[in-house]
Symmetry: C2
Subunit: 239 residues, 2 copies
DNA sequence: ACCTGAACACCGTTCAAGT
DNA sequence: ACCTGAACACCGTTCAAGT
């Protein structure tokens, strides 16, 4: 997974301070990231606290600040680490760019789905870590191999990431509530839609089933299909 | 803006408690929502605190709980109120469904852009308030007028909302930092991309300008175009 | 019924002091 | 250089007590 390190990336304004390194004297940045990710996996993002992380490592919260600039930066590091778990396309195939893009999207969703509601914290960040950069590089390679212009490629990588992380964000929220409770809520929602006054809400009434029946996978698949077909259309139009 | 009230909507699992009404004895739910929105507009979502809201109204935080179940619910009420500012399409025109969808998307973005980073709190919520429902109803009417199937309409209203709110979320983050700082960061980012090792990051290097030049409006417009062209394609395919 | 002060159980972060 | 305890300046929410 490792490779030659990159020059230092610019940091987005007003995020945490810079990182210091420790040379394995009990605590280390890696151990802190591990502990943080473990908490997110098992108890979700809200349970992630400088205090809970410290506790898991047998210290107090103040000790973490020798290895991590802030809680904000710790989350950034966790996200970057998790992006490292995503398998991006290594060899772009011009004939299969749509499939390869879908594969990548599925991979990203799968990985974030395996880490609680971490996607919530990841959303809206401009990721400049090594793993995130490699991922974007791979997506751009696939898009260009598919014949998309420079302009469309640059916009598309952004759009696709927004979509996938948005879905992952919502996935995480749904996972935050008990599955049974969630099913109940959807059922309640359906009968609520059906009970609406038909003169003012004709579409809610007649689409009540459609609106509450699709599972999250078909929603995801649909959006992906729309985006890729849309990219094809926009790209064709440009030429 | 008001109309006959709807039957009580189901509440998503594990959000705030139910609302009590006060009859204008100094404090009221409306006044609390006003104060909260005002704080968000001027200082952003992070400045919204039960304490800051209470302070703006000349009381202590405990007093708010007679009118609002929780902070979570207060935010929900603020979001619902803000959605009320969006002008949705009243008369769907079958010949102009794409334009009408774009108009609605622009309206939503415009309204949320005028309320700090509120979109961040709105994202991922299933909105069941009256205003939100009317908005979704209007979008579905436009989609169906455009000839989209029930299935595609139901999925599309969801997809479009996800996109617009995702963009609005990012808008809000960008607005959180000083404009000058943000420009500097983008410039830094560009030279960082350009300085990357070309053997491992050929696309970042050659697309450095494209990746850092588009302003937020062109990004938004591009995604909207892709989505709508994609919906056309998917819809044609279905028939 | 509404409002309040005080308190509870938390936060992230700093800082002087230790090694 | 790293680690720590204690403290600072906050949170959301509860609850007994007031009117």
């Amino acid at each position: 997974m490792d490779s030659d390190s990159l020059p230092p990336a610019p940091r987005p304004p007003s995020r945490g301070a810079s990182t210091r390194q420790s040379r394995q004297r009990g605590l280390s940045q890696a151990a802190i990231i591990d502990a943080a990710l473990d908490i997110i996996d098992r108890e979700g993002l809200d349970a992630l606290t400088m205090r809970t992380v410290a506790h898991a490592l047998g210290t107090g919260p103040a000790s973490l600040y020798a290895h991590v600039g802030s809680k904000e930066q710790l989350i950034e590091l966790v996200v970057e680490r998790v992006i490292g778990e995503v398998h991006f396309i290594g060899e772009p195939d011009p004939a299969r760019w749509e499939e390869q893009l879908k594969e990548t999207a599925h991979e990203m969703r799968r990985v974030f789905a395996s880490h609680g509601d971490l996607a919530r914290a990841s959303f809206g960040r401009i990721p400049v870590g090594e793993n995130a950069m490699r991922g974007a590089e791979s997506m751009m390679a696939v898009l260009r191999a598919g014949g998309l212009s420079d302009r469309v490629t640059a916009l598309a990588v952004d759009l696709l990431s927004l979509y996938v992380m948005g879905i992952a964000y919502e996935d995480g929220l749904a996972r935050g509530t008990e599955p049974e409770q969630f099913v109940d809520f959807i059922a309640e929602l359906r009968s609520y839609f059906e009970s609406l006054p038909a003169d003012r809400f004709p579409n809610f009434v007649s689409l009540a089933e459609q609106l509450t029946s699709g599972d999250e996978n078909t929603r995801f698949e649909f959006g992906l299909e729309v985006l890729i077909r849309g990219l094809e259309a926009v790209s064709k139009n440009e030429a």
